[in-house]
Protein backbone atom coordinates (compact mmCIF):
# COMPACT_ATOMS: atom_id res chain seq x y z
CA UNK A 1 0.00 0.00 0.00
CA UNK A 2 1.77 3.11 -1.13
CA UNK A 3 -1.08 5.38 -0.26
CA UNK A 4 -2.70 4.73 3.07
CA UNK A 5 -5.13 7.61 2.87
CA UNK A 6 -8.63 6.36 2.37
CA UNK A 7 -10.92 8.62 0.43
CA UNK A 8 -13.98 9.40 2.45
CA UNK A 9 -16.86 10.54 0.29
CA UNK A 10 -19.42 11.05 3.04
CA UNK A 11 -21.43 14.25 2.84
CA UNK A 12 -20.17 15.59 6.17
CA UNK A 13 -16.60 15.11 5.07
CA UNK A 14 -17.14 16.89 1.76
CA UNK A 15 -18.93 19.75 3.52
CA UNK A 16 -16.07 19.95 5.99
CA UNK A 17 -13.60 20.26 3.14
CA UNK A 18 -15.60 22.79 1.13
CA UNK A 19 -16.51 25.05 4.05
CA UNK A 20 -12.97 24.88 5.57
CA UNK A 21 -14.30 23.84 8.98
CA UNK A 22 -10.85 22.80 10.17
CA UNK A 23 -9.27 26.10 9.22
CA UNK A 24 -12.07 28.04 10.90
CA UNK A 25 -11.68 25.94 14.05
CA UNK A 26 -7.97 26.75 14.03
CA UNK A 27 -8.70 30.45 13.71
CA UNK A 28 -11.19 30.19 16.58
CA UNK A 29 -8.57 28.57 18.81
CA UNK A 30 -6.00 31.30 18.21
CA UNK A 31 -8.66 34.01 18.57
CA UNK A 32 -9.64 32.50 21.91
CA UNK A 33 -6.04 32.67 23.09
CA UNK A 34 -5.98 36.39 22.26
CA UNK A 35 -8.13 37.07 25.31
CA UNK A 36 -6.55 34.65 27.79
CA UNK A 37 -4.12 35.77 30.45
CA UNK A 38 -0.54 35.81 29.27
CA UNK A 39 1.96 33.45 30.84
CA UNK A 40 5.03 35.63 30.45
CA UNK A 41 7.14 36.15 33.55
CA UNK A 42 8.21 39.81 33.66
CA UNK A 43 11.56 38.86 35.02
CA UNK A 44 13.73 41.71 36.12
CA UNK A 45 11.17 44.44 36.73
CA UNK A 46 8.22 42.81 38.39
CA UNK A 47 8.68 39.11 38.98
CA UNK A 48 11.48 36.65 39.54
CA UNK A 49 11.87 32.91 39.72
CA UNK A 50 12.92 31.22 42.97
CA UNK A 51 14.54 27.87 42.15
CA UNK A 52 13.92 24.62 44.02
CA UNK A 53 16.00 23.76 47.07
CA UNK A 54 18.11 21.30 45.07
CA UNK A 55 19.33 24.15 42.86
CA UNK A 56 23.08 24.83 42.92
CA UNK A 57 23.74 28.55 42.80
CA UNK A 58 26.06 30.87 44.68
CA UNK A 59 27.93 29.38 47.67
CA UNK A 60 26.98 30.26 51.19
CA UNK A 61 28.81 29.54 54.45
CA UNK A 62 26.54 28.59 57.32
CA UNK A 63 26.66 29.33 61.03
CA UNK A 64 25.26 27.17 63.77
CA UNK A 65 22.29 28.17 65.90
CA UNK A 66 24.50 30.03 68.33
CA UNK A 67 25.86 32.12 65.46
CA UNK A 68 29.28 30.52 65.29
CA UNK A 69 30.92 29.81 61.96
CA UNK A 70 30.69 26.14 61.07
CA UNK A 71 33.68 26.16 58.73
CA UNK A 72 36.75 24.64 60.34
CA UNK A 73 39.13 25.35 57.51
CA UNK A 74 39.83 21.68 56.77
CA UNK A 75 40.44 22.43 53.08
CA UNK A 76 38.51 19.36 51.92
CA UNK A 77 36.35 21.57 49.68
CA UNK A 78 39.47 23.00 48.05
CA UNK A 79 40.92 19.51 47.59
CA UNK A 80 37.75 18.09 46.06
CA UNK A 81 37.21 20.99 43.66
CA UNK A 82 37.77 19.82 40.05
CA UNK A 83 38.55 23.30 38.78
CA UNK A 84 40.53 24.34 41.85
CA UNK A 85 38.68 27.56 42.28
CA UNK A 86 38.51 27.53 46.10
CA UNK A 87 41.28 28.97 48.22
CA UNK A 88 41.28 28.14 51.95
CA UNK A 89 43.87 29.42 54.43
CA UNK A 90 43.36 27.86 57.88
CA UNK A 91 44.40 29.37 61.17
CA UNK A 92 44.43 28.55 64.88
CA UNK A 93 41.74 30.48 66.71
CA UNK A 94 42.76 31.12 70.32
CA UNK A 95 39.65 33.14 71.20
CA UNK A 96 37.33 30.16 70.78
CA UNK A 97 34.97 31.95 68.43
CA UNK A 98 34.92 29.05 66.00
CA UNK A 99 33.30 25.67 66.60
CA UNK A 100 36.79 24.26 66.97
CA UNK A 101 40.11 25.87 67.40
CA UNK A 102 40.86 25.59 63.74
CA UNK A 103 38.99 28.09 61.49
CA UNK A 104 39.40 29.48 58.01
CA UNK A 105 41.32 32.72 58.00
CA UNK A 106 40.58 33.19 54.36
CA UNK A 107 37.96 31.38 52.28
CA UNK A 108 37.69 32.64 48.73
CA UNK A 109 35.96 31.33 45.61
CA UNK A 110 36.70 32.26 42.05
CA UNK A 111 33.27 32.25 40.39
CA UNK A 112 34.86 32.69 36.97
CA UNK A 113 36.13 29.13 37.20
CA UNK A 114 33.45 27.53 39.35
CA UNK A 115 31.12 25.21 37.46
CA UNK A 116 28.67 24.71 40.38
CA UNK A 117 29.16 20.93 40.44
CA UNK A 118 28.52 20.75 44.20
CA UNK A 119 31.48 18.47 45.06
CA UNK A 120 32.69 20.97 47.66
CA UNK A 121 29.27 20.83 49.28
CA UNK A 122 29.49 17.03 49.41
CA UNK A 123 33.00 17.07 50.84
CA UNK A 124 32.27 19.47 53.68
CA UNK A 125 32.33 17.49 56.97
CA UNK A 126 30.64 20.17 59.09
CA UNK A 127 27.94 21.08 56.60
CA UNK A 128 29.22 24.61 56.61
CA UNK A 129 29.31 25.00 52.85
CA UNK A 130 26.11 24.90 50.81
CA UNK A 131 25.28 25.98 47.31
CA UNK A 132 22.44 28.49 47.58
CA UNK A 133 19.80 29.64 45.14
CA UNK A 134 21.19 32.96 44.07
CA UNK A 135 21.73 32.79 40.31
CA UNK A 136 22.11 36.44 39.29
CA UNK A 137 25.88 36.44 39.28
CA UNK A 138 26.68 38.69 36.33
CA UNK A 139 28.52 41.88 37.15
CA UNK A 140 30.42 44.66 35.52
CA UNK A 141 33.65 44.25 37.52
CA UNK A 142 35.83 41.16 37.35
CA UNK A 143 36.83 41.63 40.99
CA UNK A 144 33.23 40.95 42.00
CA UNK A 145 33.55 37.36 40.81
CA UNK A 146 36.00 36.62 43.67
CA UNK A 147 33.70 36.20 46.67
CA UNK A 148 35.36 36.25 50.09
CA UNK A 149 34.33 34.61 53.36
CA UNK A 150 32.63 37.70 54.74
CA UNK A 151 30.37 38.02 51.71
CA UNK A 152 29.41 34.35 51.81
CA UNK A 153 28.74 34.36 55.54
CA UNK A 154 26.16 37.13 55.12
CA UNK A 155 22.59 35.78 54.93
CA UNK A 156 21.37 35.42 51.35
CA UNK A 157 18.16 36.87 50.00
CA UNK A 158 16.54 33.42 49.79
CA UNK A 159 16.65 31.47 53.10
CA UNK A 160 17.28 27.72 53.05
CA UNK A 161 13.91 26.76 54.50
CA UNK A 162 12.10 28.56 51.68
CA UNK A 163 10.52 25.94 49.46
CA UNK A 164 11.17 27.43 46.02
CA UNK A 165 9.90 26.50 42.59
CA UNK A 166 7.70 29.58 42.52
CA UNK A 167 7.47 33.01 41.02
CA UNK A 168 7.53 35.89 43.46
CA UNK A 169 7.20 39.62 43.04
CA UNK A 170 10.47 41.46 42.66
CA UNK A 171 11.81 44.87 41.93
CA UNK A 172 14.87 45.98 40.01
CA UNK A 173 17.34 48.07 41.98
CA UNK A 174 20.70 49.54 41.19
CA UNK A 175 23.87 49.18 43.20
CA UNK A 176 27.51 50.03 42.55
CA UNK A 177 27.92 46.97 40.35
CA UNK A 178 24.83 47.35 38.18
CA UNK A 179 21.31 46.07 38.59
CA UNK A 180 20.10 43.79 41.39
CA UNK A 181 16.76 42.02 41.51
CA UNK A 182 15.22 42.13 44.98
CA UNK A 183 12.64 39.34 45.48
CA UNK A 184 9.66 39.73 47.78
CA UNK A 185 9.23 36.25 49.23
CA UNK A 186 5.86 36.89 50.85
CA UNK A 187 4.01 36.87 47.52
CA UNK A 188 4.18 33.63 45.61
CA UNK A 189 2.39 32.13 42.72
CA UNK A 190 2.84 29.00 40.73
CA UNK A 191 3.02 29.99 37.11
CA UNK A 192 1.60 26.87 35.51
Amino acid sequence: MSNNRKLNFSITNILKKVLFIDLIQGLAVTFGYTFTKTMTMRYPDEETWIPYQRFRGLHTLNRNKAGRELCVGCELCAKSCPTQCITVVPMEDKTGKGIADRVAARWEINLLRCMFCGLCEDACPTEALKLGRQYELAGKKMQRQFRSKDELLAPQAIPFDFEGGVIVKARLERDEDGAVVKPDLSSQKRWW
Binding site: L27, T30, F31, Y33, K37, T38, T40
Partner: protein
Protein backbone atom coordinates in the same frame (compact mmCIF):
# COMPACT_ATOMS: atom_id res chain seq x y z
CA UNK B 1 -12.03 83.55 -8.08
CA UNK B 2 -10.60 83.71 -11.56
CA UNK B 3 -10.30 80.47 -13.54
CA UNK B 4 -6.48 80.65 -13.52
CA UNK B 5 -6.43 80.89 -9.73
CA UNK B 6 -8.77 77.92 -9.45
CA UNK B 7 -6.51 75.85 -11.69
CA UNK B 8 -3.48 76.74 -9.60
CA UNK B 9 -5.41 75.87 -6.46
CA UNK B 10 -6.37 72.48 -7.88
CA UNK B 11 -2.77 71.70 -8.77
CA UNK B 12 -1.66 72.70 -5.27
CA UNK B 13 -4.38 70.55 -3.72
CA UNK B 14 -3.36 67.54 -5.79
CA UNK B 15 0.29 68.00 -4.83
CA UNK B 16 -0.65 68.28 -1.15
CA UNK B 17 -2.76 65.14 -1.43
CA UNK B 18 0.09 63.20 -3.05
CA UNK B 19 2.52 64.32 -0.35
CA UNK B 20 0.10 63.49 2.46
CA UNK B 21 -0.66 60.02 1.07
CA UNK B 22 3.04 59.28 0.57
CA UNK B 23 3.89 60.42 4.10
CA UNK B 24 1.15 58.24 5.56
CA UNK B 25 2.34 55.25 3.53
CA UNK B 26 5.96 55.80 4.57
CA UNK B 27 4.94 55.92 8.22
CA UNK B 28 2.74 52.81 7.97
CA UNK B 29 5.36 50.23 9.06
CA UNK B 30 5.62 51.93 12.47
CA UNK B 31 2.08 51.17 13.68
CA UNK B 32 1.87 47.93 11.71
CA UNK B 33 5.04 46.35 13.13
CA UNK B 34 3.83 47.28 16.61
CA UNK B 35 0.40 45.81 15.90
CA UNK B 36 1.91 42.65 14.44
CA UNK B 37 4.07 42.12 17.53
CA UNK B 38 1.16 42.70 19.87
CA UNK B 39 -1.19 40.41 17.95
CA UNK B 40 1.54 37.75 17.86
CA UNK B 41 2.14 38.14 21.58
CA UNK B 42 -1.47 37.77 22.57
CA UNK B 43 -2.17 34.85 20.25
CA UNK B 44 0.90 33.04 21.56
CA UNK B 45 -0.10 33.79 25.20
CA UNK B 46 2.84 36.10 25.82
CA UNK B 47 3.09 39.82 26.22
CA UNK B 48 4.93 41.11 23.21
CA UNK B 49 6.99 44.29 23.48
CA UNK B 50 6.74 45.91 26.90
CA UNK B 51 10.10 47.37 27.82
CA UNK B 52 10.62 50.21 25.32
CA UNK B 53 8.38 53.02 26.38
CA UNK B 54 4.82 52.71 27.63
CA UNK B 55 3.61 49.21 26.62
CA UNK B 56 6.51 49.03 24.17
CA UNK B 57 5.22 51.92 22.08
CA UNK B 58 8.72 53.16 21.29
CA UNK B 59 9.76 49.77 19.87
CA UNK B 60 9.00 50.68 16.22
CA UNK B 61 11.06 53.87 16.56
CA UNK B 62 13.92 51.88 18.03
CA UNK B 63 13.66 49.50 15.06
CA UNK B 64 13.68 52.43 12.67
CA UNK B 65 16.81 53.91 14.27
CA UNK B 66 18.51 50.53 14.15
CA UNK B 67 17.72 50.07 10.46
CA UNK B 68 18.95 53.57 9.62
CA UNK B 69 22.29 53.18 11.40
CA UNK B 70 23.07 49.61 10.37
CA UNK B 71 25.88 48.96 7.93
CA UNK B 72 24.73 48.71 4.35
CA UNK B 73 26.35 45.57 2.96
CA UNK B 74 26.55 44.71 -0.74
CA UNK B 75 27.93 41.24 -1.60
CA UNK B 76 31.18 41.46 -3.57
CA UNK B 77 29.90 39.36 -6.49
CA UNK B 78 26.52 41.09 -6.68
CA UNK B 79 25.28 43.09 -9.65
CA UNK B 80 25.68 46.39 -7.86
CA UNK B 81 23.37 48.54 -9.98
CA UNK B 82 20.44 46.10 -9.89
CA UNK B 83 21.11 45.34 -6.25
CA UNK B 84 20.78 49.01 -5.37
CA UNK B 85 17.78 49.72 -7.53
CA UNK B 86 15.73 46.59 -6.74
CA UNK B 87 14.21 47.85 -3.45
CA UNK B 88 13.10 51.05 -5.15
CA UNK B 89 11.60 49.14 -8.07
CA UNK B 90 9.72 47.01 -5.56
CA UNK B 91 8.53 50.08 -3.69
CA UNK B 92 7.26 52.21 -6.58
CA UNK B 93 4.28 50.06 -7.73
CA UNK B 94 2.75 49.69 -4.27
CA UNK B 95 2.85 53.47 -3.85
CA UNK B 96 1.58 54.15 -7.37
CA UNK B 97 -1.56 52.11 -6.71
CA UNK B 98 -2.80 54.78 -4.30
CA UNK B 99 -3.15 57.28 -7.14
CA UNK B 100 -6.63 55.94 -7.78
CA UNK B 101 -7.76 54.52 -4.45
CA UNK B 102 -10.71 56.50 -3.02
CA UNK B 103 -10.83 56.93 0.76
CA UNK B 104 -14.23 58.59 1.09
CA UNK B 105 -16.89 60.86 -0.43
CA UNK B 106 -15.92 64.39 -1.41
CA UNK B 107 -15.94 66.95 1.38
CA UNK B 108 -16.19 70.75 1.12
CA UNK B 109 -13.42 72.71 2.78
CA UNK B 110 -14.90 75.54 4.87
CA UNK B 111 -13.83 79.21 4.31
CA UNK B 112 -12.73 78.78 0.69
CA UNK B 113 -15.72 76.69 -0.44
CA UNK B 114 -13.53 74.38 -2.45
CA UNK B 115 -14.63 70.80 -2.97
CA UNK B 116 -12.00 68.33 -1.78
CA UNK B 117 -12.06 64.85 -3.23
CA UNK B 118 -10.69 62.19 -0.91
CA UNK B 119 -8.87 60.52 -3.79
CA UNK B 120 -6.05 61.64 -6.01
CA UNK B 121 -7.72 60.77 -9.29
CA UNK B 122 -10.86 58.96 -10.40
CA UNK B 123 -9.75 56.75 -13.26
CA UNK B 124 -12.46 55.11 -15.30
CA UNK B 125 -10.26 52.00 -15.50
CA UNK B 126 -9.32 52.15 -11.82
CA UNK B 127 -9.51 48.47 -10.91
CA UNK B 128 -7.64 47.48 -14.07
CA UNK B 129 -4.90 50.00 -13.24
CA UNK B 130 -4.62 48.80 -9.65
CA UNK B 131 -4.35 45.12 -10.58
CA UNK B 132 -1.89 45.81 -13.40
CA UNK B 133 0.38 48.02 -11.29
CA UNK B 134 0.23 45.79 -8.23
CA UNK B 135 1.49 42.89 -10.33
CA UNK B 136 4.60 44.90 -11.24
CA UNK B 137 5.99 44.73 -7.72
CA UNK B 138 7.26 41.25 -8.53
CA UNK B 139 10.02 42.93 -10.59
CA UNK B 140 11.61 44.25 -7.41
CA UNK B 141 11.67 40.83 -5.81
CA UNK B 142 13.01 38.94 -8.79
CA UNK B 143 15.65 41.61 -9.45
CA UNK B 144 16.69 41.50 -5.80
CA UNK B 145 16.97 37.72 -5.99
CA UNK B 146 18.95 37.85 -9.23
CA UNK B 147 21.27 40.72 -8.30
CA UNK B 148 22.25 39.14 -4.96
CA UNK B 149 24.11 36.44 -6.92
CA UNK B 150 23.28 33.88 -4.27
CA UNK B 151 21.32 30.65 -4.44
CA UNK B 152 18.53 31.14 -1.97
CA UNK B 153 17.57 34.72 -2.85
CA UNK B 154 17.49 33.59 -6.49
CA UNK B 155 15.11 30.72 -5.66
CA UNK B 156 13.00 33.11 -3.61
CA UNK B 157 12.76 35.53 -6.52
CA UNK B 158 11.79 32.77 -8.95
CA UNK B 159 9.17 31.41 -6.58
CA UNK B 160 7.81 34.89 -6.16
CA UNK B 161 7.40 35.33 -9.91
CA UNK B 162 5.64 31.97 -10.30
CA UNK B 163 3.38 32.73 -7.37
CA UNK B 164 2.52 36.20 -8.65
CA UNK B 165 1.56 34.93 -12.09
CA UNK B 166 -0.64 32.16 -10.67
CA UNK B 167 -2.47 34.26 -8.15
CA UNK B 168 -2.75 37.48 -10.14
CA UNK B 169 -5.11 35.58 -12.47
CA UNK B 170 -7.40 34.42 -9.69
CA UNK B 171 -7.32 37.85 -8.07
CA UNK B 172 -8.28 39.63 -11.27
CA UNK B 173 -11.00 37.12 -12.11
CA UNK B 174 -12.44 37.51 -8.60
CA UNK B 175 -12.59 41.26 -9.22
CA UNK B 176 -14.38 40.66 -12.54
CA UNK B 177 -17.44 39.44 -10.62
CA UNK B 178 -17.56 42.75 -8.75
CA UNK B 179 -17.13 44.70 -11.96
CA UNK B 180 -20.08 42.81 -13.44
CA UNK B 181 -22.20 43.75 -10.42
CA UNK B 182 -21.41 47.46 -10.62
CA UNK B 183 -21.09 47.85 -14.41
CA UNK B 184 -18.00 49.96 -13.97
CA UNK B 185 -14.24 49.64 -13.67
CA UNK B 186 -13.94 52.86 -11.65
CA UNK B 187 -13.28 52.20 -7.96
CA UNK B 188 -15.45 55.19 -7.05
CA UNK B 189 -18.44 53.81 -8.98
CA UNK B 190 -17.89 50.35 -7.48
CA UNK B 191 -18.16 51.84 -3.99
CA UNK B 192 -21.17 53.99 -4.92
CA UNK B 193 -22.89 50.88 -6.29
CA UNK B 194 -22.80 49.35 -2.80
CA UNK B 195 -24.91 52.04 -1.05
CA UNK B 196 -27.08 51.17 1.95
CA UNK B 197 -25.58 47.84 2.94
CA UNK B 198 -25.85 46.36 -0.57
CA UNK B 199 -22.29 45.20 -0.08
CA UNK B 200 -20.79 42.89 -2.67
CA UNK B 201 -19.85 40.35 0.01
CA UNK B 202 -23.55 39.41 0.13
CA UNK B 203 -23.80 38.90 -3.62
CA UNK B 204 -20.28 37.61 -4.26
CA UNK B 205 -19.24 35.41 -1.31
CA UNK B 206 -17.29 33.02 -3.54
CA UNK B 207 -15.63 35.94 -5.26
CA UNK B 208 -14.62 37.38 -1.91
CA UNK B 209 -13.24 34.04 -0.79
CA UNK B 210 -11.11 33.78 -3.94
CA UNK B 211 -10.03 37.40 -3.58
CA UNK B 212 -8.99 36.85 0.05
CA UNK B 213 -6.87 33.77 -0.62
CA UNK B 214 -5.31 35.13 -3.79
CA UNK B 215 -4.72 38.43 -1.99
CA UNK B 216 -2.83 36.76 0.84
CA UNK B 217 -0.74 34.95 -1.75
CA UNK B 218 -0.13 38.19 -3.69
CA UNK B 219 1.26 39.99 -0.67
CA UNK B 220 3.38 36.97 0.34
CA UNK B 221 2.05 36.51 3.81
CA UNK B 222 1.83 33.26 5.74
CA UNK B 223 0.46 30.70 4.78
CA UNK B 224 1.67 31.67 1.30
CA UNK B 225 5.02 33.36 2.00
CA UNK B 226 7.02 31.24 -0.42
CA UNK B 227 9.49 33.97 -1.55
CA UNK B 228 10.73 34.47 2.02
CA UNK B 229 10.32 30.98 3.41
CA UNK B 230 12.83 31.18 6.24
CA UNK B 231 12.77 27.42 6.81
CA UNK B 232 14.17 26.56 3.42
CA UNK B 233 15.46 29.79 1.87
CA UNK B 234 17.13 31.65 4.71
CA UNK B 235 15.24 34.92 4.56
CA UNK B 236 14.24 34.50 0.91
CA UNK B 237 14.78 37.08 -1.80
CA UNK B 238 16.09 39.72 0.63
CA UNK B 239 18.64 37.48 2.37
CA UNK B 240 21.57 39.63 1.28
CA UNK B 241 19.98 42.97 2.08
CA UNK B 242 20.58 44.94 5.23
CA UNK B 243 19.84 48.33 6.72
CA UNK B 244 17.63 50.72 4.74
CA UNK B 245 17.47 48.57 1.61
CA UNK B 246 15.95 45.82 3.71
CA UNK B 247 13.67 48.39 5.32
CA UNK B 248 12.39 49.33 1.85
CA UNK B 249 11.38 45.72 1.25
CA UNK B 250 9.68 45.63 4.62
CA UNK B 251 7.87 48.86 3.77
CA UNK B 252 6.82 47.34 0.45
CA UNK B 253 5.36 44.31 2.14
CA UNK B 254 3.42 46.32 4.68
CA UNK B 255 2.08 48.76 2.11
CA UNK B 256 1.11 45.82 -0.12
CA UNK B 257 -0.84 44.37 2.79
CA UNK B 258 -2.65 47.68 3.23
CA UNK B 259 -3.29 47.80 -0.53
CA UNK B 260 -4.96 44.39 -0.55
CA UNK B 261 -6.97 45.33 2.56
CA UNK B 262 -8.07 48.58 0.91
CA UNK B 263 -9.02 46.77 -2.27
CA UNK B 264 -10.97 44.20 -0.30
CA UNK B 265 -12.88 46.94 1.50
CA UNK B 266 -13.62 48.82 -1.71
CA UNK B 267 -14.63 45.81 -3.75
CA UNK B 268 -16.55 43.76 -1.20
CA UNK B 269 -17.28 45.73 1.97
CA UNK B 270 -18.85 48.89 0.64
CA UNK B 271 -15.87 51.21 1.05
CA UNK B 272 -16.84 54.07 3.37
CA UNK B 273 -20.47 52.91 3.65
CA UNK B 274 -21.62 52.57 7.25
CA UNK B 275 -23.95 54.01 9.92
CA UNK B 276 -23.85 57.80 9.73
CA UNK B 277 -22.80 58.54 13.32
CA UNK B 278 -19.18 58.31 12.18
CA UNK B 279 -17.73 59.97 9.07
CA UNK B 280 -17.21 57.70 6.07
CA UNK B 281 -13.44 57.80 6.16
CA UNK B 282 -13.47 56.45 9.74
CA UNK B 283 -15.55 53.48 8.63
CA UNK B 284 -13.15 52.98 5.77
CA UNK B 285 -10.10 52.95 8.05
CA UNK B 286 -11.82 50.66 10.55
CA UNK B 287 -12.63 48.14 7.85
CA UNK B 288 -9.06 48.25 6.54
CA UNK B 289 -7.74 47.66 10.06
CA UNK B 290 -10.11 44.71 10.45
CA UNK B 291 -8.69 43.24 7.24
CA UNK B 292 -5.12 43.77 8.43
CA UNK B 293 -5.99 42.14 11.74
CA UNK B 294 -7.34 39.15 9.85
CA UNK B 295 -4.07 38.81 7.88
CA UNK B 296 -2.05 38.90 11.10
CA UNK B 297 -4.44 36.51 12.81
CA UNK B 298 -4.10 34.02 9.93
CA UNK B 299 -0.33 34.42 10.01
CA UNK B 300 -0.12 33.18 13.59
CA UNK B 301 -2.62 30.37 13.02
CA UNK B 302 -1.74 28.49 9.86
CA UNK B 303 1.39 26.61 8.87
CA UNK B 304 3.05 27.37 5.56
CA UNK B 305 1.96 25.57 2.38
CA UNK B 306 4.39 23.58 0.29
CA UNK B 307 5.22 25.16 -3.05
CA UNK B 308 3.55 22.47 -5.17
CA UNK B 309 0.45 22.70 -2.96
CA UNK B 310 0.45 26.44 -3.50
CA UNK B 311 0.58 26.02 -7.26
CA UNK B 312 -2.11 23.32 -7.17
CA UNK B 313 -4.46 25.54 -5.18
CA UNK B 314 -3.87 28.47 -7.50
CA UNK B 315 -4.35 26.71 -10.81
CA UNK B 316 -6.62 23.77 -9.99
CA UNK B 317 -9.01 25.27 -7.47
CA UNK B 318 -9.03 29.07 -7.42
CA UNK B 319 -8.87 29.68 -11.16
CA UNK B 320 -11.73 27.30 -12.15
CA UNK B 321 -13.74 28.53 -9.18
CA UNK B 322 -13.24 32.13 -10.27
CA UNK B 323 -14.34 31.31 -13.82
CA UNK B 324 -17.39 29.49 -12.47
CA UNK B 325 -18.16 32.47 -10.29
CA UNK B 326 -18.09 34.76 -13.33
CA UNK B 327 -20.33 32.37 -15.28
CA UNK B 328 -22.93 32.17 -12.52
CA UNK B 329 -22.80 35.93 -11.89
CA UNK B 330 -23.40 36.48 -15.60
CA UNK B 331 -26.35 34.08 -15.66
CA UNK B 332 -27.93 35.69 -12.58
CA UNK B 333 -27.52 39.22 -13.91
CA UNK B 334 -29.18 38.32 -17.20
Amino acid sequence: MSPALITILEVVIICVKVVVVCLILFMLPLPLTYMERKVAGHIQVRLGPFRTGFHGLLQPFADMLKLIFKEDIIPSQADRFLFKIAPIIAMVPVFTVYATVPFGESVTIPFINQKLNLYISDMNVGILYVLAIAGLSVYGMILAGWASNSKYPMLGGLRSSAQMISYELALSLAAVGVVMMSNSLSLLDIVRGQYDWHWNIIYQPVGFFIFLIAGIAEINRIPFDMPEDEGTLGAGYHSEYSAMRFAFFMLTEYVAMVTISTLGVILFFGGWDGPSFLPGIVWFVLKVIAFIYFFMWARFTFPRYRFDQLMAIGWKILLPLALLNILITGLVII
